[in-house]
Symmetry: C2
Subunit: 203 residues, 2 copies
């Protein structure tokens, strides 16, 4: 016996496949779509349908671009400093940096992090292309903006080693206390890093 | 300048239209779909596309059924007691009751609750059809299983009044302490209801 019609069950299951969506949320999404005008279902449906065929990767930075576009605006824009590269793991990571409005260099998306457990070696990432850019664009500084976890650290270390014989400054994002977090709530590792990276106050 | 390609922005916006989905979750969903095989995008897309055209309402209970089906299995099944009706506001409410495996009557979905603020009067709900069922199916008991809020209460009251001249028992779900909740954490209204509805312990 069906409690719900199969078409609705199918939609609930499809929603439940999204990350962090439990069965209750999936039911809520499906019921919201059902209660509303077909317009909402159509919009989401065609956005999903069109996604893969309308997206490409920038041939230089591997950031996401619309299909048919060779290079990302974040690379071609003449105001961006091509001698400064922020290296990130995934395409969305650059959105966070971009929102600070403080970075005017270009990006390089690795497409992941080195992870032997998941079978991801350096050759699967866009590291060779990064080295090539260093030479082509006469890059002065590379900011390794990978996560603070084990994979982020080892990927950063690997890239650093690859760049050893080139005259390029390699930096990393500062580790320390997040703004607005009390000392007593900071974890030990963050606090150790904040101590190591302590800065002289100018007087 | 586009940080993200328009097709991706569009999908993020469409996801952010779902109830309780903020911009960060919407980004996460969109990126998950993008990273994965097109199969995931297709499945969700066609489930959305097919939804409205594959769903209908049971002509008797107003529960959701597949298109072309006149009555819900929950009504036609011969093991269900048609003289007992649980009245719920929305189609999903019966799923919760059904999952208890304790109810073997039939359902009646009102399609909402009386709400003067939202312009929903009794005539917009399937109340007349409920009264008709009482006569047709010789209904013995109606369980008003609406929410405990103001709208649920006033809808229940209205239905009760409409049934006054008929010989049918009208009951409501018990209000009281939810199982597993400590006395000290129960809110005052729930506790008042639990007091009012206190039951004699058989000895």
């Amino acid at each position: 016996m069906h409690i719900l019609p199969p078409a609705l069950e199918e939609l609930i299951e499809a929603f439940a496949g999204l990350p962090g969506v439990g069965p209750r949320s999936a039911e809520r999404f499906a019921y919201y779509v059902l209660r509303n005008d077909t317009h909402i279902a159509h919009r989401l449906s065609s956005a999903l349908e069109d996604l893969h065929s309308n997206i490409d990767y920038c041939k230089k930075t591997f950031a996401l671009v619309e299909r048919g576009k060779e290079f990302s605006d974040l690379y071609t824009d003449p105001t961006r400093d091509k001698t400064l590269i922020a290296v990130v793991a995934e395409p969305f990571d650059l959105v966070a940096l971009e929102k600070t409005n403080e970075f005017h260099g270009t990006y390089h998306v690795l497409g992941g992090l080195i992870s032997p457990i998941d079978g991801v070696g350096p050759e699967q990432l866009h590291i060779a292309e990064l080295i090539a850019r260093v030479d082509e664009d006469k890059v002065q500084e590379i900011i390794l903006a990978t996560n603070a976890g084990v994979e982020g650290e080892s990927t950063a270390l690997y890239i650093q080693q690859q760049l050893e014989d080139r005259e390029v400054r390699v930096t990393r994002l500062a580790r320390g206390l997040p703004v607005g977090v009390d000392l007593e709530y900071a974890d030990q590792i963050t606090l150790s890093r904040a101590l190591e990276g302590r800065q002289t106050i100018e007087r």
